[in-house]
């Protein structure tokens, strides 16, 4: 795996966290399609069956309803199931068990039973995959009461957050941005140190603009921030990491300085998490805002087959355009009904 400093990729960090928990907590079981001998189609469970045995790292038959549902039963009886869905696009048959049971067991039994299960799935586009292999539908899951939705954007956060997710007493959907599974390496000591859930991470400090992004989009967002910096604008970049529940305080703290905000996500725009973040910002910090919160997102279309996925995914240019709209915005004169700025959208490009 890594070198002496244990410099590893995001997907290797997932494996490392799974191995740490398998080693140190006998209650942990890892299962899903092809997670055994094959080590998962992305190799996230590489070597785990060999190390921890086929009784704790198990290939399942091909059925997501089953994977989601047996995890519920296991978790109610004291196990810590970590279930893999092969792709986010194949979780949906399991939705019934996530929505109707895993996230309700504690409430329904008034605390007598609980469901400390982690559902893992690779998600997101940009890898030239066939249909259903590129979706970002985190908002569907974030809407479910009782669920945590966690997305790492670096090897270190993948390790620390997955440890936290497995140790958390409630169900977690852990979405792994597959486009950056191997995009970068970073030293990640295998020290078993979890990172906090429900806390946003400030990835870059700045006082002119707040950029909020998670998963693979963090890469383009940081690039956009660098380009803005070259023209004298310092953007603060925040990765919420836990999308539900949302650490809005870190975002509001940032807005105290910047007063302008752009939310970036691959997922479709309508009802996406950008909408939730923008709504919370205006609820908590309306008076701070110098510009409407901008959303740079995927379009409200089906995720296209790969020939057109580049046009769908928000890239650096679109993030910069959103940033400029936020930065150039000025309040309209009292009396005029609607701001021309607000409707011109991406046309504020230089």
């Amino acid at each position: 795996m890594g070198d002496q400093q244990n410099t590893i990729t995001l997907v290797e960090a997932v494996t490392q966290a799974l191995a740490f928990e398998l080693k140190n907590n006998p209650e942990v079981v890892v299962f899903g399609q092809d997670v055994g001998a094959n080590g998962g189609v992305f190799r996230a469970t590489e070597g785990l069956q060999e190390r921890f045995g086929a009784a704790r790292v198990l290939d399942t038959p091909l059925a997501e309803t089953m994977i989601a549902g047996v995890a519920v039963g296991m978790a109610t009886q004291g196990l810590r199931p970590v279930a893999e869905f092969q792709f986010m696009g194949f979780i949906y048959p399991g939705l019934d068990h996530i929505l109707s049971h895993a996230t309700r067991m504690r409430n329904r039994t008034r605390g007598r039973l609980s469901c400390p299960v982690v559902y893992r799935a690779p998600y997101g586009g940009g890898i030239h995959a066939p249909e259903h292999h590129s979706e970002s539908t985190e908002a569907i899951f974030a809407h479910i009461p009782g669920l945590r939705v966690v997305v790492p954007s670096s090897p270190a956060r993948a390790y620390g957050l997955l440890l936290a997710a497995i140790r958390d007493p409630d169900p977690v959907l852990f979405l792994e941005p597959k486009r950056i599974y191997r995009a970068a390496k970073q030293p990640v000591p295998d020290d078993g140190e979890a990172l906090p859930l429900d806390r946003a991470f400030v990835l870059r400090e700045g006082c002119d603009l707040t950029l909020v992004a998670w998963g693979a989009s963090v890469k383009e967002t940081l690039e956009a921030a660098e380009q803005l910096s070259a023209s004298g604008i310092e953007a603060e970049v925040i990765d919420p990491a836990t999308l539900k529940p949302l650490d809005i305080h870190t975002i509001i703290d940032s807005l105290e300085k910047t007063r302008r905000c752009v939310v970036v996500h691959e997922a479709a725009r309508f009802g996406g998490l950008g909408a939730e973040i923008a709504a919370q910002i205006q609820e908590y910090a309306f008076d701070l805002l110098e510009a409407p919160v901008q959303r740079v997102t995927g379009y409200d279309t089906v995720m296209p087959y790969y020939q057109l996925e580049g046009a769908y995914l928000p890239g650096v240019e679109r993030i910069l355009a959103g940033a400029r709209t936020a930065l150039e915005y000025s309040r309209c004169e009292p009396g005029s009904s609607i701001s021309a700025n607000a409707l011109s959208g991406g046309e504020a490009l230089p």
Binding site: N38, F90, P130, Y299, Y305, L308, R318, G345, G346
Partner: protein, 369 residues
């Protein structure tokens, strides 16, 4: 301990059908449809499927095609199934179906477009009622049941002859609820639908015995009360007989059927897979002895229906067909990016005009830059 006396309530058996054995010897006389013309047609089409697969895998390896699921070693199932369908039957294919699609008149260009990341490939020009290839496992089986319901209703209300729907899948798919639910409803409503399962022994890395404890896949139909047959999936005649027979019964109003066709996936799961991680070279080597093309070749030569000269002609003809298709595919104009909005609804709702314009403008700026 008390042992109660029990009465036998139900029992079942599963039959297996084979005409051509491993060596290409006919172990029983062939059905009437297996004329020299039909046999050589199937032989040609199986070779075409293998050629398309081979070229597609090479295109993927050189970065010109996306992930591709080859049908290597499973050509007989697709060709026999596609061949048995009538033009106005409805086919609901899964993703590993190059041969069946070719028999349905789907063009090589369309197949390459699908795996080359272009939705236009699913807009089949020659089989307008067939469903597109389906990736979420086993879901197509329910669609086939719904299609069969519609066919039955059209038959009853409009007096047109009863047509049938066919869904294909792998054996892994038979672990999913959709598969049981589809068979169950098809049985209850006695619908004209046939389920063809390509049991190629693997669902990615999970072997057949990791999928189910049943002795056969076919017997899963017993619980739904529908007839089932297991066939040698490397024997194109056996698969064709089974599908034709099931279709005939479906069209006669006798209801659904399940066919388990035993084959072996001689390729990786897809080009994204490396099967050497989980299966032995010996197992693979062994399975090559059963493959369907060599078997038919032997039979045809034995019957005096095939020769080296004919094979040379065929090789040339298929190579030309393939090259033409590749040329057409490679020179196809790319779709405008705004196509992602064009087929979202029958008519684009006004609420999406702004996004549409934004995408178009972005594209124009990008193109101008």
């Amino acid at each position: 301990m008390h042992k109660p006396r029990l009465q036998l309530q139900a029992s079942f058996d599963i039959a297996h059908l084979q005409y051509l054995d491993n060596q290409g010897k006919a172990i029983q006389s062939l059905p009437e449809f297996a004329t020299p013309d039909w046999l050589t047609h199937c032989y040609r089409q199986m070779q075409l499927a293998r050629l398309v697969d081979d070229r597609a895998v090479k295109l993927q390896r050189t970065g010109r095609l996306g992930t591709y699921p080859s049908t290597l070693g499973q050509e007989a199932i697709g060709i026999a199934t596609g061949n048995a369908l009538a033009a106005d039957d409805v086919y609901c294919p899964y993703y590993r179906e190059t041969g069946a699609l070719l028999e349905r008149g789907v063009t090589i260009e369309e197949i390459l477009a699908i795996w080359g990341g272009d939705e236009r490939g699913q807009n089949f020009q020659h089989s307008p009622s067939d469903l597109p290839i389906c990736i979420p496992i086993a879901t197509q089986m329910l669609h086939a049941v719904g299609a069969a319901f519609a066919l039955k209703q059209r038959h009853q209300q409009e007096g047109v002859p009863l047509q049938a729907a066919v869904a294909s899948s792998g054996e892994g798919a038979t672990s999913k609820g959709d598969f049981y639910e589809a068979m169950n409803l098809a049985g209850v409503w006695k619908l004209p639908v046939v389920f063809v399962v390509n049991n190629n022994q693997w669902a990615i890395s999970v072997p057949r015995h990791g999928q189910t404890a049943t002795q056969t896949i076919a017997q899963k139909a017993v619980a739904a009360g529908i007839p089932a047959l297991q066939v040698d999936g490397n024997d194109v005649v056996a698969v064709a007989w089974a599908v034709q027979d099931a279709l005939q019964r479906a069209r006669n109003g006798d209801g659904p059927a399940l066919i388990e066709a035993i084959s072996y996936r001689l390729c990786d799961h897809t080009t994204a897979d490396d099967a050497s991680r989980y299966r032995s070279a010996e197992a693979l080597q062994q399975a090559w002895q059963w493959e369907p093309i060599k078997r038919l070749d032997r039979y045809l030569r034995e019957q005096g229906l095939w020769s080296d000269a004919k094979q040379q002609d065929l090789d040339r003809e298929l190579a030309t067909t393939m090259e033409m298709a590749l040329g057409n595919w490679q020179t196809r104009t790319p779709e405008p990016v705004t196509a992602i909005f064009d087929h979202l609804y029958a008519q684009l709702p006004e609420g999406l005009y702004e996004q549409y314009d934004q995408l178009r403008d972005e594209q124009q700026q990008g193109a101008g830059a």
